[in-house]
């Protein structure tokens, strides 16, 4: 269906649903980044700990 054929109410409803989808995507991305940061954080911590151990 072409956007031009949507009524104002339908457009608003579609926009609302798109916003919900966008928000959900952002949360999914945030969850994915949290997992990634947990993994990478451990790796970075090990690296920095090794560097600190070497220095101090």
């Amino acid at each position: 269906m072409a956007v031009g054929s949507l009524s104002k109410e339908e457009l608003k409803m579609t926009m609302g649903m798109l916003l919900v989808a966008a928000g959900a995507s952002m949360i999914v991305l945030a969850i994915a980044l949290s997992v990634w940061l947990t993994v990478m954080g451990k790796r970075w911590k090990a690296e920095i700990d090794a560097q600190m151990k070497e220095t101090y």
Partner: protein
């Protein structure tokens, strides 16, 4: 002076002299009972008084710390007090420095932590023990390359309040450890001219003011900036000097000691000339540099406040490193980004949900109001579509169901309307609480009451209107129709009360006339009732009220007798011509009934009136009013007009459509009797009539209607035919 080899207190055999200091000579000795080497050291005279109390001596003996030597005993020999402590193998740190020059950061950091642990332990005693003379010479380096802090100044353990030191180690002692500026100048060789009181803080037991009148006295406006800065520092020093030692003094001394260990150089005795450790040409990490700088702050307030604080900083030294800071910042940035993403996601979802919800509500309200419009216009299919759309959006909201009930009522499907309303009211899923719902529930009861009313079930109508009022007592129409129903059940008194309530709530004059007409009608005052209804019809703008008033007005004429039949027919024909037939189904039905009565009364024009009645009934039947009763009426009328074939065709249609109802067969049996009646005797055959009769009786026995007079008549007729031998043929 005690000779080597002598035994003190029958326990300690002096082996050799291993050093001497301000306090006296230090001996290596052998503990005869414990069979181990110890150190016997003469302690300063000023401490003697303090240690005469055994309690204080016990405190020192009870000190246990890995990096502190243990104090075993205090002994008095020849009026001198000696302390007996652990013998620490190894060499002093100043000797190690002389041998190795300087040490790397990693090793110094390890010793710094060990020393900080020892200080933390001493400073945590009650009262805190201040070493006051930390320097490489007082640190032993064991063969395992651990350290041990020796020679702590016992006098400072018990001197409460502002403590005064017994001595100063140039380069290692903080400013506050110097007694006064003169002492500092004399030790550092700084030229000055001071005016101070003669007594030192130690001598007087209290802090003395020292006034600087040296070079700072000659500060003038033209002085060089460097000189001005120097003068400011000097002034600051004079304020710090002589303040007395505390835990922070040990921190300073340890800082300078670490400085020495790292750089291989003793820090300058002149505080103004100390080169910051971070500016020295050594391999030093940022964190360690910062800690040492803080330890060596001239102002005690800017240093670590005690050994515990210093130990904490050293244990977390890596946190001061730029690489660690960068790592922390990176983690923090990612966490901020993720948190922002979560927050944004939640906000966007919330915004989307609110937008969608708002539109859903708007669409729902639109569909409901559209349904109401369709209903008022009589377009029930479109109304149903709108109602279904609304229900799909919010299956639990009541308004759409209320419109469906209204639709069924307006379609005059009263039984369905009541059934549907009951289902809705009994369904907990579509009965949410709240003020708005109460009003809608009131409306549902009101419509249901009207449906009962239309079915002439006035008792239930009364109950429904009463329930409607219990949910919403502000709607005058509820009271009006309740009053009308009460009239129907013969309770005119209560009806008047309800009418009064309705009038108080602003009931319109048309409705008042209507109810008054109802009351008059119920009291048998039909002429009066007819007047009220006529006034109501002429004055009301409400179509439903008008319709009801018309029907009741027609009923009033009917009750007034045959003299008013023509008036009734004229009245109904006039109303139908004004409204249009399509909008007046009930009125058309009433008119058809009036035509039938007129036909029965006017024998001359019977066929004419019956024909008009048939037309009216057929119009109803072909316009959705296809009830069994209408079909039966038409068939009966055809029978009355001697159009027996048409009557039979209609009755056959009727039994086909309503095969389980006895009335179709009853009419067919009568019709068959009439048909045979018209034949000569020899041609009559009542077999079909008998079949219809038997079928009728079979169905009649299953139905509740057991008082049908026509059935009795038919039974009698069948008996006569039986007796007459018509079935024997």
């Amino acid at each position: 002076m005690i000779e080597n080899g002598s035994i003190l207190k029958s326990t300690y055999r002096l082996m050799e002299e291993i050093g001497s200091g301000g306090g006296g000579i230090v001996y290596k000795a052998y503990h005869e009972r414990l069979k181990k080497y110890v150190v016997v050291k003469e302690i300063r005279d000023c401490v003697k008084g303090v240690l005469e109390s055994r309690a204080e001596a016990d405190i020192l003996k009870n000190l246990r710390q890995t990096y502190l030597p243990q104090v075993f005993d205090f002994i008095e020999v020849d009026e001198k007090i000696f302390t007996v402590i652990d013998y620490i193998p190894g060499k002093s740190m100043d000797k190690a420095l002389a041998e190795e020059g300087k040490f790397n950061q990693k090793e110094v950091l390890k010793w710094a932590k060990q020393l900080a642990e020892a200080l933390a332990y001493l400073h945590s005693q009650t009262p805190p023990i201040i070493h006051s003379d930390i320097k490489p010479a007082n640190i032993m380096l064991t063969p395992q390359r651990d350290i041990c802090l020796i020679d702590f100044n016992v006098s400072l353990a018990f001197d409460e309040g502002m403590r005064t030191s017994t001595g100063v180690s140039g380069g290692y002692s903080p400013p506050e450890q110097y007694w006064n500026y003169a002492m500092y100048c004399s030790m550092t060789g700084i030229p000055m001219e001071v005016k101070h009181d003669s007594a030192s803080p130690k001598e007087s037991g209290e802090r003395r003011q020292t006034a600087l009148v040296g070079k700072t006295q000659f500060i003038n406006q033209e002085a060089e900036p460097a000189v001005l800065e120097s003068n400011r520092q000097t002034e600051r020093l004079t304020k710090l000097i002589g303040r007395g030692v505390d835990e922070r003094s040990d921190i300073y001394s340890l800082g300078t000691t670490i400085y020495h260990l790292l750089t291989g150089e003793t820090p300058s005795q002149n505080f103004e000339e100390i080169v910051s450790v971070t500016k020295c040409d050594i391999n030093l990490s940022e964190g360690f540099g910062l800690i040492i700088s803080k330890m060596m702050e001239l102002s005690p307030d800017l240093r670590f406040q005690n050994g515990t604080e210093l130990l904490g900083a050293l244990n977390h030294i890596h946190e001061l490193d730029w690489r660690y800071k960068r790592y922390r910042q990176k983690i923090r940035n990612w966490k901020c980004l993720i948190t922002a993403l979560y927050a944004s996601g939640i906000i966007v979802i919330a915004f989307g949900v609110v937008t969608t919800q708002k539109e859903h509500v708007a669409a729902y309200n639109h569909a409901v109001s559209e349904a109401a419009n369709w209903i008022s216009m009589g377009d029930f299919d479109d109304a149903e579509t709108s109602i279904q759309a609304a229900m799909k959006l919010y299956p639990n909201r009541l308004e759409a169901y209320q419109k469906e009930i209204l639709r069924l009522y307006t379609m005059e499907l009263y039984e369905d309307c009541i059934l549907y309303a009951r289902n809705v009211l009994e369904n907990p899923m579509i009965m949410p609480d709240g003020e708005t719902s109460n009003s809608t529930i009131g409306d549902i009861f009101y419509i249901m009451g009207n449906a009962y009313f239309e079915k002439n079930d006035f008792s239930n109508a009364c109950n429904s209107f009463k329930s409607a009022i219990s949910y919403n007592d502000a709607n005058n129409l509820y009271y009006r129709d309740y009053a009308v129903s009460l009239v129907q059940v013969g309770n005119a008194e209560k009806a008047n009360e309800q009418l009064d309530c309705a009038i108080k709530l602003g009931l319109g004059q048309d409705s008042i006339y209507f109810v008054q007409g109802e009351i008059a009608f119920s009291e048998g005052k039909y002429s009066e009732a007819e007047k009220y209804f006529t006034t109501c019809i002429n004055g009301t703008k409400s179509e439903s009220l008008r319709k009801r008033a018309v029907l009741l007005c027609a009923s009033s004429y009917k009750k007034m007798g045959m003299d008013y039949l023509d008036q009734e027919i004229n009245f109904l024909e006039q109303i139908i011509s004004t409204n249009g037939r399509q909008q007046s189904m009930n009125i058309v039905e009433n008119l058809a009934d009036a035509y039938v009565r007129k036909g029965e009364a006017d024998a001359q024009n019977r066929l004419f009136w019956y024909q008009k009645a048939v037309e009216s009934f057929e119009f109803l039947y072909s316009n959705g009013y296809s009830t069994r009763q209408i079909l039966e009426n038409i068939a009966v009328l055809y029978g009355q007009m001697d159009q027996l074939e048409q009557a039979e065709t209609l009755l056959l249609q009727m039994i086909e459509k309503y095969p389980d109802h006895y009335k179709g067969y009853k009419r067919l049996a009568f019709l068959e009797a009439d048909i045979q009646q018209k034949k000569p005797n020899e041609q009559r055959d009542y077999q079909r009539m008998k079949e219809y009769y038997e079928k009728m009786m079979e169905l009649y026995s299953t139905q509740n209607d057991s008082n049908d007079v026509e059935v009795q008549m038919l039974q009698n007729l069948m008996k006569d035919l039986q007796d007459g031998g018509w079935f024997a043929k």
